[in-house]
Each structure stands twice: as C-alpha cells, then as structure tokens.
C-alpha cells in the first residue's frame, strides 16, 4: 500500500524531493482533466497542470494540513484556470479543439457511425451547456460531476462554505436540465423515485 497524500507531503516538507514525484504521478491526470473541462483546450490544460504542480512545489513548505492536499491542488488549478479565462475575455481566443468538436469535420460511413455521431453531438451539447453556466456554478459542477470531489473538498478548494457549494451546484444542475431540454438532447429516461 502506498503512502497517503498527507504522508507524502510530510516527506516533501522533510526534504524528500522524490515524494513529490509520487504526488505528481498520482494527481497530474486528474488536475489536467479538470483544467481541460474548465478551458476546453488540451494545450492550456497541460500548461495549467504544470503550473499547478510548480506552484504547489514552491508553496509546499507553507502548506498547512488544514485542508486536504487534493483540495489545495484543485484550488491552485482553479485559480489558474480563472486567470486564463479572464485573459481570454480581454483577448478572445479561438480554441481549435472547440471548433474541431463542434464542427461537422468527420464523415463517418462505418457501421454504427450514426450512433457515434449522435453521441458526439450529445457530448458537445453537454459541454456547451456546462460552459454556458456562470463561472461559479460551472466550477462546482465540474469539480463535483467530473472530479468527484466531496462537497467538503470543493468547499476547501474554492474557499467557500459547503452550503454555498451546494447552492451553486443545485442552481447549476437546474440550469443544465433546462438548457439540455431546450437543445433537444435525447434525454435519459428518468428513473422514477418511488414514494416510500
């Protein structure tokens, strides 16, 4: 059994630099995944992941173990993504990946092609709906739905109370439902909640 994040952080703080490599290997994909969801750009997500670990390494000596290490990482990554999104507003950029995802680029002729295209369209609709949310709600939805953080971890990462996290998530989910219904995305049949 490997060492926990907290043990590795403690080892890093004691001067065992290789312990940080273990932390990077453990969290890099997830941090990059979150950044990709925030930014819709693999290149930028990779940069954000690198910057996140760089900042984490530099700030490790001052890291107090009040929050979990993962929450702290997500906090750094989220802030970096926010900065990049703000810069984009002042200097609009066109993400090639977004174009690639949204444009009718691929002509599929193989068996099952139609189903794959439908799935692709639906995935794109979900992506668009999430990116249409206000930033605060979008962050919570991504961290909860895709990064599977607990409410407490999200609260620590975003430095807000748990109740705020839940409110933002609830509002975000309601907006997503409405938007996806408006866009006519094929709905999963709701599983009725039986009355107890």
């Amino acid at each position: 059994m490997g060492r926990s994040d907290e043990e590795l952080v403690e080892a890093c703080q004691a001067g065992e630099a290789s312990a940080f490599d273990v932390l990077v290997a453990r969290w890099e994909d997830r941090v990059r995944g979150a950044a990709y969801r925030f930014l819709s750009s693999d290149d930028e997500a990779r940069d954000v992941a690198q910057e996140t670990f760089l900042k984490a390494y530099r700030g490790l000596s001052g890291f107090k173990r009040e929050a979990r290490f993962s929450s702290w990482l997500y906090q750094i990554a989220t802030n970096l993504c926010r900065d990049r999104l703000r810069r984009r507003k002042t200097r609009p950029q066109v993400s090639l990946e977004a174009i690639e995802e949204s444009g009718p680029v691929i002509v599929e002729t193989r068996p099952g092609a139609h189903e794959r295209l439908v799935e692709r369209d639906q995935a794109e609709a979900v992506r668009r709906a999430i990116h249409a949310l206000p930033e605060e709600q979008r962050e919570v939805v991504i961290l909860k739905e895709y990064q599977e953080l607990t409410f407490l971890e999200i609260a620590q990462a975003l430095d807000v109370p748990v109740s705020t996290v839940k409110t933002r998530l609830y509002r975000g989910l309601v907006q997503l439902r409405q938007r996806l219904e408006t866009e006519g995305v094929r709905r999963e049949a709701p599983v009725p909640v039986p009355a107890p």
Partner: protein
C-alpha cells in the same frame, strides 16, 4: 404542483447529499420523509439522476493526439527512412570493421614473418662471421678501400656543391640586373614626371640618370 419546501436550503442540501451518495442516515431519513409526500421533489430527484447520466456523456478526449506528450512527431515515412539508413550504415560499418580487422591481422602476420626472417638472417651472418675470422692485412685493405670511396664521394659532393653555387650566383646576378633596370626605369619615370621633359630639366634628368648608372657600375 410545486414543492412547499422549495426554499428550504437545508432540505435542498440533503437532497444533493442523497443524490451524490454523501448523505448520512439522518439526512436520508429527512429526504425520504419529504419525498413520501412531495411528488414535485420525487420528479425533480428522478430528473437530476437522469441529468447526471447525461452529463457523463462528456468524456475526456483520451485518444486525442493532444494528450500525447508534446514534441515533434516524426512522420512515419521519415522514421522508416531513418531506420533504413541506420540499418544500412550499421551493415556497412560492421563489414568495414570486420574487413579492417582482417587486414590488420594479415599485416601482423606478415610483419611476424619478416621479423622471423630477419632474425634468421642475422643469426646466419653471425655464424658465418664466427666461422671466417678477418686477418689484419685484409682489414687494413678494407679500411683503405673505404677511405678511398669516402674521399671520392666527398670530392664528388664538393663539385656538385660548387656547380650549384655557381648556378645560384648567376641566377642572382640575372635577377639583380633585371631589378636594376626596372628601378632605373622607375627613377626615370619619376624624374620625368617631377621635372618635366623640356629643356634644361630634361638635360638635368639625363645627367642624373648618367650619375646613377655610373654609381651603379662602380
């Protein structure tokens, strides 16, 4: 029909806890009690569950080229060409090395044979010398002949040296004469340019040239 506790944030939080599997027993009980009497919330919980499954459609593009490590991607044809060249160079290099090694081995063998032959010859000469001792008169005669040959060589060398020096001296004289003529022409041209070609100036120039020539001859 709406829920009469739609603004109850605590209940909303409990519902989310249930939806995401984070609810403790008390929260589950509260939600369960409410759902039993609220059709709107039952419908909402079912809808949110369906929404979560829909959100799962947006997956990370793991197979995207962008998720491979960055850097220059070598085209396949270039990689194939490079491999071919590498293999070719490797073959040539290996065969070259082998042939060079064979050549060195052959040379070493030849050198060993020559060395052995030299040793044998030396031994034979030493043996012959030991068998036929040289008399004092023969040695004297040999020395005289050697001296005579050395003298002849020296005389020949002296003659050769002398002839060579004569040739060099004649050559040097020729070149000095040519150089002198060139210098004189230049002096004449310079003087003509400076003094002009008229009257007394020209005469003066000629006198100067005569003087220079006379001094050269002296």
């Amino acid at each position: 029909m709406g829920c009469d506790k739609a603004v109850d944030e605590a209940l909303q939080g409990d519902k989310l806890d249930v939806l995401y599997g984070e609810a403790d027993a008390a929260a589950r009980a509260r939600v369960s009690t409410h759902l039993a009497s609220c059709g709107a919330c039952r419908e909402e919980m079912a809808g949110l569950g369906a929404l979560r499954r829909e959100l799962g459609r947006w997956r990370l593009p793991l197979a995207r080229p962008g998720f491979t490590p960055r850097g220059y991607v070598v085209p396949r044809w270039l990689a194939a060409a490079a491999l071919f060249l590498l293999a070719f160079a490797g073959t040539v290099g290996a065969s070259g090395y082998l042939s060079l090694r064979r050549a060195l081995q052959a040379q070493e063998a030849r050198a060993a044979i020559v060395e052995r032959q030299q040793r044998e010859t030396q031994k034979a000469l030493e043996a012959q010398l030991a068998r036929t001792p040289v008399s004092a008169a023969a040695a004297q005669d040999l020395l005289q002949r050697v001296d005579a040959r050395v003298d002849a060589r020296l005389a020949s060398s002296d003659e050769l040296q002398r002839a060579r020096l004569d040739r060099l001296f004649a050559d040097w004289q020729d070149r000095a004469e040519v150089r002198r003529r060139v210098d004189m022409a230049q002096v004449a041209a310079s003087l003509s340019y400076l003094d002009g070609r008229h009257g007394e100036q020209l005469q003066r120039t000629n006198e100067l040239m005569g003087y220079v020539l006379a001094s050269q001859k002296r």
